[in-house]
């Protein structure tokens, strides 16, 4: 939780503790950024008005850092434009002080769910990427044509090589990515964010 007001920090800290969360408090956005990055799910309860970097600024910075903190904004005086901006940038909720504790805890709970989800997704992607990184450039090229839906013959034509060679590459790709079917191959590629190859000769696909 980041809030420049000590009373608020103490009060909210207690509330989170009573709700079973391990709460950590920071007096400013800069203090939070100075902390070493925590790998687990994080819900950031953030005050909008703060000296130095304000709430929205911190949100922006974190986004750039590529962290997966889920943010619940709290503000002493909420105006529509600030709230809209916060929500657009992916905030979980925007609460006006003083708020109902249940409302806050609900928002925090939701934030943790989202955070876990995201962490999970991120874990999968990382794992898929790890497998793909083992491919040689040629194999990667073949993969992109495979997930595009091209047959071995077509791939060979695209790469100006023998169909037999493509077959060998393909087998190695399947092996390295530890999949047995093409649909599985497509799923892993999607998780890793690999896009299908660009096809310059559309007519040949069918």
């Amino acid at each position: 939780m980041v809030d420049d007001d000590q009373s608020v920090r103490r009060g909210l800290g207690r509330l989170f503790k009573s709700a079973g969360y391990a709460a950590e408090t920071f007096a400013s956005a800069e203090d939070y950024l100075a902390r070493e990055i925590f790998e687990g799910p994080i819900c950031l309860v953030l005050d909008v008005r703060m000296p130095g970097l304000n709430g929205l600024g911190l949100q922006e910075t974190l986004e750039k850092r590529g962290a997966c903190e889920q943010i619940v904004f709290i503000t002493g005086h909420g105006d529509v434009s600030t709230a809209t901006q916060a929500m657009k940038s992916g905030a979980i909720d925007f609460l006006t002080k003083p708020f109902d504790d249940v409302e806050l805890i609900e928002a925090v709970k939701l934030a943790f769910e989202r955070a876990k989800e995201q962490l999970h997704k991120r874990g999968e992607r990382r794992e898929a990427r790890g497998r793909i990184e083992k491919l040689t450039p040629r194999e990667f090229e073949v993969l992109r044509f495979v997930i595009m839906g091209l047959l071995n013959k077509q791939i060979a034509a695209e790469l100006h090589t023998a169909e037999k060679t493509i077959k060998v590459h393909r087998g190695r790709v399947m092996q390295k990515l530890r999949v047995t079917s093409v649909p599985d191959l497509v799923r892993v590629s999607q998780r890793a964010g690999v896009s299908p190859a660009h096809n310059p000769h559309k007519t040949k696909i069918n």
Binding site: V8, R10, G11, H77, P98, F99
Partner: protein, 697 residues
């Protein structure tokens, strides 16, 4: 007398002397009028002269034409003298041609007569630069010597020479000289004052005087005529010559009561009757030869008129002096009354004291009660008494002037504000002779100031309410902080209780925090209330650093919202000032808000306000608010302090005006100036003097 003036046709001139006319105006009808008057006067004068001749003596006892000419010259500016001489010439011819005098002699006489008038009038004009009157001893002296004596004296040489050259008559040179001299002296002494005084302002004076005085004048004239008639007609030649002095009391009466006008008229009456009676063979001057009689009359009249003219001048001079003094006194007392001034003095040597009536009324002193410092102090308000006594004692010891402002407590409980100024006057030996002074009742002024202060206070309050209005959002934010903390703590407590595992130590802390935050919320509300409520304007010792901190607390949230950094450079050990803390908060708040507004277009990174307090060498403290905003209007930085000047679309333009009025009401000064990349507002307030105990209501 009046008839004489009108008969001479000189009434047209009576207003001439009152206003200075320009040349252009003189060369209009007025000049023609003057010329006509001179012509008629000169001609009639000659006729009278002939009539007053003691036969068979060929020369007139009194020769008026020369005097009429002299009077005319004295009454007119030098520029028109030639007109007067030109007008007199035909009259001279007309009168003289009726006698058997050769034309050459007539011409010569005109020359000598003109010479006489010109010598007299020239000298008098040269020595007296104002219109010639007979109301000053000096003027009369100059007139008698130069016009009445020197003119005839010198011109008679010329005249006698002319007579000798023309072989006219059989008299010797010196005889002619003597006869003409005495005759012309008498004429100048009797006729010129009469004409000058009456033509100048005598006629107007006659219309102005009261009836009683008019009757007195008439009575005097009758008495004078009767006495003169008795003296010059009824007394036989053998009568006691001392009886000639019988008219003297009446002449003095005329001079004392009617000044130079009365004296000259009385002398003329005497002269006319004396000569007329002698001419007809009556009275004391008819016993000897015509020439001897003429000489006796002339001597008698000259001797009578000279002192009388001088006496009249002294009397008038004194009257005028007394009148001037009275006028000045009236003016001073009028000024004193209208300015609520009280004059007083205490003479220690003569054991006398004096105070103006109004002062005695104000101080509640009896009409003859002797004044003293103790008596005075007993009337002073007990709270001011020591300070007043100290100031007077200081003035006595240091021989300085004291000036004190204090209150009087009147028996009915009424309080009056006064300023007294006074000093001790020392005698030659260095001892104290006298204590003199003035006091001014400034109660009305003080009350007006008070009223003005109330109005200003009300204005300031409206401005504070309006400032609070602008800050509502920020204040709500500020108030929400402790409320959020309280709510969170309460919720946490509830949850902990529900979980059934309350840690007593933590609960204690929690409740303590709730209490602290509740108090904090209360303080904020109290601060707002304090800021907008109707102030009593009470002043106390205030530390400006404290005011800066309070205002920053009030603006805390607003500053965060604007993303503006406020830096403070507060001087340590800042002396306190005597001020109304709420109004000073307002001053600072308005200046800060003004600075923040000015930085609306400044990039977020460079938005900065620097507030500093400093101790000034002239025992005052200064507060400066410097921003990095759009700056002040370049043409006139002071414009921002004028009413209704605003750059804000919905601004009233009163904020800075009120700020200035508050600062000035505290005896301070507020200035604004452009500095690098922004503006600076700077105000000073006088430091509380150590001994100062006065509370300003």
């Amino acid at each position: 007398m009046k008839t004489l003036a009108t008969a001479l046709g000189l009434t047209g001139l009576d207003s001439r002397s009152k206003t200075q006319r320009t040349d252009a105006q003189f060369f209009e009808w007025r000049v023609v009028g003057i010329a006509l008057c001179v012509f008629v006067g000169y001609y009639l004068g000659a006729k009278i002269g002939f009539a007053l001749t003691l036969r068979p003596h060929p020369v007139s006892v009194l020769w008026p034409p020369n005097s009429i000419l002299l009077a005319a010259l004295l009454l007119t500016p030098v520029r028109v003298w030639w007109v007067i001489l030109l007008a007199a010439f035909p009259a001279h011819l007309a009168a003289q041609l009726q006698s058997n005098v050769p034309p050459a002699m007539i011409l010569c006489w005109f020359i000598s007569n003109s010479c006489e008038a010109l010598i007299g009038a020239g000298c008098v004009r040269f020595l007296i630069d104002r219109p010639v009157r007979f109301d000053r001893l000096g003027n009369v002296g100059i007139f008698i010597f130069f016009a009445a004596f020197l003119g005839p004296f010198l011109s008679s040489f010329v005249d006698a020479a002319f007579v000798a050259i023309n072989h006219f008559g059989g008299d010797s040179y010196w005889r002619v000289w003597r006869i003409r001299f005495t005759s012309n002296i008498l004429a100048a002494l009797t006729l010129v004052p009469l004409i000058v005084t009456w033509v100048a302002d005598g006629i107007a004076w006659l219309w102005k005087i009261r009836q009683a005085r008019f009757l007195e004048a008439a009575l005097l004239l009758i008495a004078l005529l009767s006495v003169n008639t008795i003296v010059f007609y009824k007394l036989g030649p053998s009568a006691d010559s001392a009886l000639l002095c019988l008219p003297v009391p009446f002449l003095i009466w005329a001079a004392v009561r009617f000044g130079s006008r009365g004296a000259s008229a009385a002398i003329c009456t005497l002269t006319f009757l004396a000569i007329w009676s002698a001419g007809h063979g009556y009275g004391p001057f008819s016993t000897r030869s015509a020439e001897e009689n003429a000489l006796s009359i002339q001597m008698f009249l000259i001797v009578m008129s000279v002192p009388l003219l001088l006496l009249a001048a002294v009397i008038e001079e004194r009257g005028k002096g007394a009148m001037t003094l009275r006028e000045r006194e009236d003016r001073i007392s009028l000024a004193a009354e209208s300015a609520n001034l009280v004059f007083w003095s205490i003479n220690f040597e003569r054991k006398e004291s004096w105070m103006s009536d109004k002062g005695r009324a104000i101080f509640n002193f009896g009409p003859d009660e002797p004044l003293s410092r103790e008596l005075f102090l007993s009337r002073v308000h007990p709270e001011d008494r020591d300070a007043v006594d100290e100031a007077i004692e200081h003035a006595r010891a240091e021989s300085q002037t004291f000036e004190i402002e204090y209150r009087l407590l009147r028996p009915d409980g009424d309080i009056r504000w006064l300023i007294s100024r006074g000093r001790y006057v020392r005698n030659d030996r260095g001892g104290i002779r006298e204590l003199i002074g003035v006091a001014i009742d400034i109660t009305a002024q003080v009350e007006a100031d008070l009223q003005l202060g109330l109005q200003r206070e009300e204005m300031a309050r409206m401005s504070r309410v309006s400032s609070m209005g602008e800050l509502t959002a920020s204040l709500a934010h500020e108030l929400n902080q402790p409320l959020t903390a309280i709510a969170s703590n309460a919720a946490a407590g509830r949850r902990l209780l529900a979980q059934g595992s309350p840690d007593p130590k933590m609960f204690k802390e929690l409740l303590a925090d709730v209490a602290t935050d509740a108090r904090r919320a209360g303080d904020i509300i109290h601060g707002i209330h304090h800021f907008v409520r109707k102030g009593e304007g009470t002043r106390c010792r205030v530390n400006l650093n404290e005011i800066v901190r309070e205002v920053l607390r009030l603006l805390h949230s607003d500053l965060l919202g604007r993303g503006t950094a406020v830096e403070t450079e507060l001087a340590p050990n800042l002396p306190s000032v005597d001020a109304d803390p709420v109004q000073l908060q307002q001053v600072l708040l308005n200046l800060l808000m003004n600075s923040l507004e000015a930085m609306n277009d400044t990039s977020a990174a460079s938005r900065r306000v620097v507030i500093s307090t400093t101790c000034q060498p002239n025992s005052s403290v200064a507060v400066s608010v410097r921003d990095y905003g759009s700056g002040l209007p370049a043409d006139d930085a002071d414009k921002v302090f004028t009413h209704f000047y605003s750059t804000k679309p919905n601004g009233m333009g009163m904020g800075l005006t009120i700020v200035r009025s508050i600062v000035e009401a505290h005896g301070g000064k507020l200035r604004a100036e452009n500095v690098d990349e922004g503006a600076r507002f700077f105000f000073t307030l006088p430091v509380t003097r150590k001994s100062e105990t006065r509370e300003v209501a």
